[in-house]
């Protein structure tokens, strides 16, 4: 087995053939078997396989791009489940971005944040309020709703608003450490939600519990974005930006400062690191990703209400980060994708299937145990199993490994990040 693996690792051509074959086969099966969730998931899994290959980063990105931009939507678009797959894919993207944001705060800077969804809410409401007639209630000038064209600007506004709140939250709470911080952020998250839920009085800003309905869809060149298949691309672009940003930050002065603060605050300070500023930056950057996605979420749902931003939501995002592997960008992406797909697609499909069986009398399930009601149970069980069998996370964080040549003065000028190689490239864990 080990032998076999190392042969594959050594031979790039073999890898190329295998991954190519895999993509083609899963592509075709999704193309042909339109309703098969399995085919959809398998095609997605090609990205995971790709991650384990030893190709250069550039090739990996290219292939991943091809799969995400062309193959996946195209194969899915051939059939009826298209929009629902794209809906799932879009939500996956949204959650990945949020999880990556939280990963900066929790995974890299080591600040446990249990109220992270607040920033998502801030993004969503920023757009929701101005993209419905709601803003007329308190804005003395302007004519609302703003047109869908403003959506693009709002992505940035949402990003900034969330970052600002990240800093505002950070300034007072950063005196507090460890699990105390967790509870303070939790309190902050709840405060934000409760305020949004109640800001229909004295001035109606958020429309309270009734939520904001009929949020303007984004508009570009006269085209309305209405379908998940369209949002999919918006999310993909933002996600790409986010991943690049995170990657770059991770191996930079800033990323190192975050990790240093996580590992040992006193030593970090003694290295000249401004503790508060570094933590604030983690809060702000993490929050900004959520803010952007909040805007997208509001536009996609066309409806914003406080129930989407509960504590459970924050906890779910945290679960994604921890499950994926704290501090590990690929891990967190995988964690977020898994949890979201599990919740939205796999569990639903599974319960539908069990339901069908029981309605058709194939199996008999007491009503109390009706599969539709057992989703939490199953989800809980899966969480426990994952945690027990992969306590370090699905793809644990890895430190950058440098080549000695790149560190001594004799070498030429390697291209960007050429020196940064993931260790995983050397040890393929196909057994995982």
């Amino acid at each position: 087995m080990k032998n076999w693996l190392s042969t594959i690792q050594a031979n790039k051509r073999l890898q190329a053939i295998m991954i190519g074959l895999y993509i083609v086969v899963t592509f075709l099966s999704l193309y042909l078997a339109q309703k098969s969730v399995i085919a959809f998931l398998l095609l997605l899994a090609s990205l995971l396989l790709l991650y384990f290959t030893t190709f250069s980063n550039r090739i990996k990105w290219l292939v991943a791009g091809l799969v995400m931009v062309v193959l996946l939507p195209f194969a899915a678009s051939q059939g009826e489940a298209y929009q629902s797959y794209m809906e799932v894919a879009t939500l996956v993207g949204i959650y990945i971005a949020m999880a990556l944001g939280l990963n900066i705060v929790v995974g890299m800077a080591g600040l446990l944040d249990l109220g992270f969804v607040a920033f998502f809410a801030i993004g969503a409401y920023t757009y929701g309020i101005f993209a419905t007639s709601q803003a007329n209630n308190f804005m003395p000038f302007g004519h609302y709703p703003l047109s869908g064209g403003s959506f693009w600007v709002f992505i940035f506004i949402g990003c900034l608003a969330a970052a600002l709140f990240g800093i505002l939250l950070g300034i007072p709470v950063l005196r507090v450490k460890g699990d105390y911080l967790a509870i303070v952020t939790l309190g902050f998250g709840e405060i934000i939600r409760i305020i949004f839920n109640n800001l229909d009085k004295p001035v109606n800003i958020t429309n309270g519990a009734m939520g904001l309905a009929s949020v303007q869809p984004p508009k570009l060149f006269g085209l309305d974005f209405m379908y998940p298949s369209q949002f999919y691309y918006i999310v993909l672009v933002i996600l790409l930006v986010v991943i690049f940003a995170v990657r770059r930050l991770e191996y930079s002065k800033i990323g190192r400062a975050w990790k240093a603060v996580r590992e040992n605050e006193i030593a970090a300070q003694s290295m000249g690191i401004h503790l508060v500023r570094t933590k604030l930056m983690a809060f702000a950057v993490g929050a900004s990703f959520s803010g952007m996605m909040g805007v997208v979420f509001a536009a996609k749902q066309t409806f914003v209400d406080p129930t989407s931003f509960t504590l459970l939501e924050s906890i779910t995002i945290l679960v994604m980060v921890i499950l994926g592997g704290m501090g590990s960008v690929p891990g967190v992406i995988l964690g977020a994708a898994l949890v979201t797909i599990l919740n939205l697609q796999v569990l639903t499909e599974l319960t539908n299937w069990l339901n069908q069986l029981s309605l058709n009398g194939v199996i008999s399930i007491p009503d109390a145990l009706s599969p539709a009601k057992m989703q939490r149970f199953i989800f809980g069980a899966i969480l426990i199993l994952f945690a027990l069998y992969r306590p370090q996370g699905l793809l644990p964080a890895k430190n950058p490994v440098f080549k000695k040549e790149d560190l001594t003065d004799t070498s030429g000028h390697p291209p960007m990040n050429a020196g940064v190689q993931k260790e995983g490239a050397q040890h393929v864990h196909l057994d995982s």
Partner: protein, 328 residues
């Protein structure tokens, strides 16, 4: 304005104390487990909930057998408390064994995941069993201590309105106080309590002192969960109706209380719990009056959390927590 607040004050205090006592004992459970494993045992709220269900189930069985009327209520209660706390104590130990112990050397936060997983499992399990037996997962137990007792607060100070208390209030408060004193004594004055604290600080070295670490941790979980379960019973007695989802919000509040008091600190948890209960009740009753109608009762949690945050900003180790300047 002040006058209005004062009118209801006696009643608000009593209601706040009742709720606060419940928070306080649940907070004790959080604090104990946190103290020893530095783990926010998210499942603790669900253990509390399970305790409430187990207790109610026993009570319902008793009343089915006609025992409730034939036995003094207080004896029934003590019996139910004991049985339930033993059961939930064992449940807590089981959870520790299955879901936490294997991860003891794993990164700290991963246990948070199993804790959340256990919460979900317990919620659904209890729901399932109750629904199977009862057809509905909302359960209402028999009334035990329902007598209303009037308190003539107006005779103390004329601005006060009279208040009334359910007799269960005294039970809840009494049991809470007894539990706290016992626990405080146990942890701070006994050998096993010292072992617990030692294990909390350095497991490996505690083992070198002949302490069986697994046993101590299991014991901690047993006590913490037994407390949680017992509180569940008290809760059911005080509020009558329970459902499988009561653990979440209550657990959250209780944890907040534990933090407010200084997590890991037993007196702190107790104090924090009562304080949060009082604050919440006070806010719900008076926020609209004090804010001239701008903030409604629905802001009570904002109020409670804001106080928590303010306290922690000025005293980051919680009200009773000791400042531990790290020795550099």
């Amino acid at each position: 304005m002040i006058e209005q607040v004062l009118h209801t004050l006696p009643q608000v205090l009593i209601d706040g104390l009742a709720l606060g006592a419940v928070y306080a004992i649940v907070a004790l459970g959080y604090t104990m487990v946190y103290g020893i494993l530095e783990l926010i045992n998210f499942a603790h709220g669900e253990i509390f909930m399970t305790g409430a269900f187990v207790g109610t189930a026993i009570l319902l069985t008793f009343s089915g057998l006609g025992w409730i009327t034939s036995m003094p209520a207080i004896i029934t209660l003590v019996l139910v408390l004991i049985v339930t706390s033993v059961l939930t104590g064992l449940l807590g130990m089981g959870i520790e064994r299955v879901a936490y112990r294997p991860l003891r050397n794993a990164p700290k936060l991963i246990t948070l995941i199993t804790a959340i997983g256990i919460s979900f499992l317990l919620q659904d399990l209890v729901r399932f069993i109750t629904e199977l037996k009862n057809g509905n997962y909302i359960l209402t137990g028999p009334n035990l201590f329902n007598k209303q007792i009037g308190i003539e607060a107006s005779s103390i100070l004329s601005v006060f309105n009279d208040a009334s208390v359910k007799s269960s209030f005294f039970i809840v408060l009494g049991v809470a106080i007894v539990m706290m004193i016992t626990l405080d004594f146990f942890v701070n004055r006994t050998k096993w309590g010292m072992a617990m604290r030692a294990v909390a600080q350095d497991r490996e070295t505690a083992a070198l002192m002949t302490v069986n670490v697994n046993k101590v941790i299991a014991l901690t979980f047993f006590i913490g969960s037994a407390l949680g379960g017992a509180t569940g019973v008290l809760f059911a007695v005080q509020y009558g109706t329970i459902d499988p989802y009561i653990g979440f919000i209550l657990g959250l509040k209780a944890f907040t209380a534990a933090v407010l008091g200084g997590i890991g600190n037993i007196r702190g948890a107790m104090f924090g719990g009562i304080l949060i209960g009082l604050l919440e009740m006070f806010a719900a009753a008076n926020l609209p009056i004090v804010s001239h109608g701008v903030l409604g009762a629905e802001y009570k949690d904002v109020f409670a959390f804001a106080i928590l945050i303010i306290v922690l900003i000025f005293k980051p180790e919680g009200l009773f927590g000791k400042v531990t300047v790290e020795k550099v």
